[in-house]
Every structure is written in structure tokens, then in C-alpha cells.
Amino acid sequence: MEFVAKLAFWFYTLIVVGGAFMAATDASLVRSLVGLVATMFGVAGLYMLMDATFIAFMQILIYVGGVSVLIFFAIMLTRAAPTGDEAMHRPLRKRINALFSMLVPALVLSVAIVQHLPNGNKLPKDVPLAELGKGLMGPYLLNFELISVVLFVAMAGAVMLAWRQWGIKK
């Protein structure tokens, strides 16, 4: 059984890594979005492996179902062509900047993870769904209500931004 868990972990990790590199570097934004969706599915699989079933389904529901559709709308509204901005040449300085912004946190944090992280449990905890529900209705009720307010404000703000005719010449 442990072998199957390891196999599943590396399978999901492969999906996550491949999707992430595709999302970050592909010249076509649509293909980059496909990579992002693959990464989200891989992360959902990792949540499943960690016995966080509810979070895994929420990941698929919110990210794959909601956020990726929003990003697809953004791609269509900006009319991003595969030969557009993203395919153009970048100066050397930009390459070096991008590489350094990746390497510095990678070095610092990977040393911290490998050397100073406690070993942790072998097996994940089993948290029943009823506990999560009690948490949402008990100690974290205010956060639960506030996130709905934030979502409402974001939606209303988005509609207002796009509805007023900013930048149209009279």
C-alpha cells in the first residue's frame, strides 16, 4: 500500500511540475492556461493523498471550475494571439532578473526545509467533514461571513469598473 501512495505522489508531482513550467514559460497564453489547469488538478490529487478530501474537491470546484474560466475570459478580452506580446524577444537583463527572483527564495527556503523542518507524522490526520462544519459555524464564523462580504465587494467592484466608460473618448 505504501508503494501505491509513493507512486501516486510522484505521479501527481510530475503533473504539477510539468504544468507549472508550461504555465510559466509557454508563449501561447491558452496553452499556459492549460498548464495551470493541469497544475491545479495535480495539487488536488496531492490534497487527496493528504486525506484532505473536502479541500481537494473545493480546489477542483473553485480553481478549475471558477478561476480558470475567469482567466480564459481575460485571455479572450485582451485578444492575446500566440504570436503577440508573449512571443517577443526579451532583453538579457529580464532573463537574469527572472532567474535571480527564482533562485534566491529557492536556495534559502530549500535549505530551511531540508535542514530545519521537523520530521512530522508518517500518516496524515483524518479530519471528518463534521469537524470542518463545526469549525465554520463555531470559532471561525466571522471569517466565513467576511469572505462572503469580500467576494460580494469584488464582484460589485468588477462590475462597476467594467460598466463605467473609463477611457472612452467623448
Partner: protein
Amino acid sequence: MSPLQLYQLVALLLLCVGLYGFIWRRSLVGMLICLELMLNGAGLSIVAACQLTPANAVLGQLGTLLVMGLAAAEATLVLAIVYVVTRRFKTSESIIVSELKR
């Protein structure tokens, strides 16, 4: 290596690839995609830290849920901003938009 370390390394890789793409991308939508990568890494890190250590598991899972909700709200707003910017500047390239004039 323990499972906790492996999960945290995957989360770190998502953060680093997201940072790389965030600088590398030229268009605002591409930067949004890389931002979502980083947020996914954050969620993975939180869930790994709460499920595989003696920490409070309910708090960690609900915190990840809140991160997802905030990511959805942020994507909505960025969609509206990108729409307005594209209409005004006729492009969504960040280097042109950052000059703040047409």
C-alpha cells in the same frame, strides 16, 4: 526524506516557478496565471503543515479554503482591471501600461 519535507518542496517549487514566470511574462494575463501558481503553492504548504504535524487540522484546512476564496475574488478584480486597461491602452503589455500614459 519525510513526507512533510517532500510536500513542502513541491510547494516551494510552485512558488519559485510562479515567481520566475511573474518576472518573465510580458502581458498582465500571463502575470495573473503565475500569481495563481504561487497561491496554489501556498495552499499546498498550509495543508501539508496542518495534516502532517500535530497542529490544528481544522484551522489549516479552513485557512486554505479562505485562500481559495480570496484567490477567486482577486481573479475577478484583475479580470475587470485588465479589461479596462486593454480598452484604454489598446494593449495588455505591462511595460507599456507601466508608463501610465498613452
